[in-house]
Symmetry: C2
Subunit: 76 residues, 2 copies
């Protein structure tokens, strides 16, 4: 399992959802109550978020975790 | 957001999927390459797994993350 690639794919999907709802990184980080630079690193796939942080991001992104994680990990 | 309740719900869903594929906790922990007692705590909702650990569990559970996370967090 390529953990780096999985985190990058998750970050890409998080970014796409943020753009879909028209928020900036600053606004999303504020709503999700996470540090702005931490959030940017999540979008770049540089942070291995815990499940509860991912849930907080999903509340700010207005979607559930399933919406971001179809076919992750690949092959399942 | 009630983090404890969310982790318990995730653990309950992980346990149900494990039973669906007929594995013991020992066997699942072995396949997922996680400590057996850590895995038991995950099922009880006592561990806030990282995304890559959740992906490793999903490979052992033969499902994707989305299959375990519909409507989590609640309300999204």
């Amino acid at each position: 399992m390529d953990e780096g690639a999985i985190l990058q794919e998750l970050g890409t999907r998080i970014r796409a959802q943020r753009k879909r709802i028209g928020l900036t990184q600053e606004a999303l980080a504020l709503v999700a109550n996470v540090d702005r630079s931490y959030y940017g690193a999540v979008e770049r796939g540089e942070r291995n978020v815990t499940f509860t942080v991912l849930c907080r991001l999903c509340i700010a992104l207005r979607c559930d975790v399933a919406a971001l994680t179809e076919a992750l990990p690949p092959g399942e």
